[in-house]
């Protein structure tokens, strides 16, 4: 594999409750490399350390030991404000539970990362509308999240993730709360973003069928990546 390294993780170790009797090592030395333009899946049963790894990739948490460079930025010694800036500019989160902010229209939700990036009002508005068009939500962009269906909410969340044109989209069980038809629509959007815009996407899932759609599947087991293979590219039925 060649091209620019977006995620470069070497021997990542994560321990919790350090120095206490219940000290727990969740990741035992994970090596993970993701290149620009890739669409990869990380699979594994619950308790395998998936969430911990996702938090690490998403700059929500720092490893106890090991080296992690994200789009060229060395996470070692990163301060809290650096992590905020990385989450803002380099990462687009898509959560299983959408996590849209209530009392704010869909459009304002999409504007939020740009607001935190310090973008001007007009610019923000124009870009948010473009993104809404991209996920085919322009007709409902002035609705509050509680007036939207699950699939619509997730489309808004994807638009929000794309707001600051991040280096990677980090999707954590994005179809977990949706029926298979809606889930299919969401997966299609990811495929489109990957193919048309060359967006790097990391999909975290426990569904083997969804994982097969991606280019590369990494299986996490007991805090270690135990296997890595190419996906079949077979698209799961809608």
């Amino acid at each position: 594999m060649d091209g620019k390294l977006i995620i470069d993780m070497n021997n990542i170790i994560k321990r919790y409750f350090i120095g206490k009797p219940n000290e727990l090592e969740v990741l035992h030395g994970v090596n993970l490399k993701v290149y620009e333009g890739e669409f990869v899946a990380i699979v594994g049963p619950s308790g395998s350390g998936k969430s911990t790894l996702m938090n690490m990739i998403g700059a929500l948490d720092l490893p106890t030991a090991g080296q992690y460079r994200l789009d060229g930025f060395d996470m070692f010694n990163a301060r809290e404000d650096d992590l905020s800036a990385i989450r803002n500019k380099k990462i687009g989160f898509v959560f299983q539970t959408y996590n849209l902010i209530a009392r704010m229209t869909a459009l304002r939700n999409v504007e939020l990362p740009m607001l935190y990036a310090g973008m001007g009002k007009k610019e923000r508005n124009v870009r948010a509308k473009e993104l809404m068009k991209m996920v085919e939500m322009e007709e409902r962009m002035y609705h509050n999240p509680d007036e939207l269906s699950g699939g619509q909410k997730q489309r808004v969340a994807i638009a929000r993730a794309m707001a600051n044109d991040p280096a990677i989209i980090l999707a954590d069980e994005p179809t977990g709360a949706l029926d298979s038809n809606t889930g299919r629509l969401i997966m299609d959007i990811f495929h489109r973003l990957n193919k048309e815009q060359g967006k790097t996407i990391v999909l975290i899932t426990h569904s083997p069928e969804l994982a097969e759609e991606t280019q590369r599947i990494m299986t996490l087991h007991d805090g270690l990546i135990v296997s890595e293979r190419k996906g079949t590219g077979k698209v799961a039925a809608g």
């Binding site: 938090n55 929500l60 404000d81 989450r87 500019k89 939020l112």
Partner: protein, 429 residues
């Protein structure tokens, strides 16, 4: 992040919980409202008092016989509240006598422009047919009427000839005239005879003039059955009273600014002390409109300090309420905070968001408090017959102060929100 965005966000989250917000703001509303109301009343009363002071003559100095301070303390065995109990009435022998006034006139001819002498027959009623009006009878000398700004609506002033003869001629207020005769044609009542019934005494007067009652002069009077003054000659009152001398006189200072009224008052004090230093019970004290205004401001100051303390407690309780509701709000919105952090919000922007929310909450409370306080104060001022004057500076101060409360009591919850771990916040149920 921009301030406008934060304020818009704060308003929308406050509007999402209207009832809760109003209950939270109650302490702030009451505190600010009380302070503004008392300031408005104080301002209105002071302004009215100032107005009436200038109409009564700001340069006047009152010289009166009063009980000695030392005697009061001695006679009241330590506890002296209103000084009523052992207060001894001023007797005729202690009055300021005509010879003293003559001496005074000579000694202070340069500084004094007029001496107003007056005496009273007390309160009584005039009844004509089924109508009646309450009056208090005051007799004044030429100097008294010269110093008094009496505006005649009909008839003539009390002339020197009437004064010399001590004639029973009188000036009636328009208010009393209207009550008694049911007319505003004041000319028609000139020359009428009226009888004032005061206790067991009857006094007859001939009305020679009707004067306009000054509105600002009636500070705390209600509208029903107001007692107004019936002016007559000093001689007439003296004829009925059979008393020599005056319990008090009013001295009018020359308008010249080189004569300081404080200095003049102490010189007058020294002058009268010559006559009264042998009097064990009484002495002469002086006061001026200025000193009365000073005292009134002092009294208002005390009242507003008292109310401010209570308002301060209300604001403290209100502030704690705001802190409490902000803590509740933050724990309800933990996932929102987590999401915002995942989207790139820095700790300081989260902190700012919640501080501004607390400040907006308190400012809205402050503004409502100001509105209620100004209207309450205006109503109270109206009841006291004073023109309502809101104090702009205290309105600005109050709103600013409520924002400071928001800042102070919002900081701790906001900081708690800012320091949340994003992972814990995102997975919070």
């Amino acid at each position: 992040m921009l301030l406008g965005e934060n304020i818009a966000m704060a308003v929308s989250s406050i509007l999402a919980n209207k009832m809760r917000a109003i209950l939270t703001m109650l302490g702030i509303i009451i505190g600010i409202g009380a302070v503004i109301a008392i300031r408005t009343v104080g301002n209105s009363v002071t302004t009215s008092f100032n107005d009436s002071m200038s109409s009564m003559g700001a340069t006047n100095i009152m010289v009166g016989v009063t009980q000695r301070e030392t005697e009061k303390v001695k006679s009241d065995s330590g506890l002296e509240f209103m000084g009523r109990r052992d207060r001894k009435a001023v007797q005729e022998k202690d009055y300021i006598k005509d010879n003293m006034i003559e001496e005074f006139r000579k000694e202070f001819s340069k500084e004094i422009d007029n001496i107003l002498l007056s005496d009273s027959l007390g309160s009584g009623r005039i009844t004509v047919g089924r109508n009646s009006a309450a009056v208090s009878v005051t007799g004044g000398d030429e100097g008294f009427y010269k110093g008094q700004n009496i505006e005649l609506l009909a008839g003539r002033e009390i002339g020197d000839k009437a004064q010399k003869g001590g004639k029973a001629v009188a000036l009636l207020s328009d208010y009393a005239a209207k009550k008694i005769y049911n007319t505003e044609e004041y000319k028609s009542i000139i020359g009428n005879q009226v009888q004032v019934v005061s206790g067991r005494s009857f006094y007859d007067f001939t009305i020679v003039g009707v004067y306009k009652l000054s509105e600002t002069g009636a500070l705390f009077g209600g509208n029903e059955d107001r007692e107004t003054t019936l002016y007559t000659t000093l001689g007439c009152v003296k004829n009925h009273n059979h008393v020599d001398g005056f319990p008090s006189i009013t001295v009018s200072k020359v308008p010249d600014t080189s004569v300081d009224s404080k200095v003049l008052r102490s010189r007058i004090q020294v002058f009268f002390d010559r006559y009264y230093h042998t009097n064990r019970l009484f002495e002469v004290t002086t006061s001026s409109m200025e000193s009365m205004l000073e005292q009134m401001n002092k009294m208002l100051g005390t009242i507003s300090t008292g109310i401010s303390v209570i308002a301060g407690i209300a604001l403290l309780v209100g502030g704690i309420g705001v802190m409490n509701i902000m803590l509740v709000s933050i724990s309800e919105r933990t996932r929102e905070i987590g999401t915002r952090k995942a989207l790139g919000a820095t700790n300081s922007s989260i902190r700012l968001q919640f501080i501004i929310e607390a400040m907006v909450l308190c400012s809205i409370g402050g503004v409502i408090g100001v509105i209620l306080g100004v209207s309450g104060g205006a109503i109270a001022a109206k009841l006291m017959d004073a023109q309502a004057h809101a104090s702009i500076s205290s309105i600005i101060e109050s709103v600013a102060f409520s924002m400071v409360i928001g800042l102070f009591f919002g900081y701790y919850p906001a900081n708690k929100a800012a320091k949340m771990n994003p992972i814990d916040a995102l997975t919070y149920e």
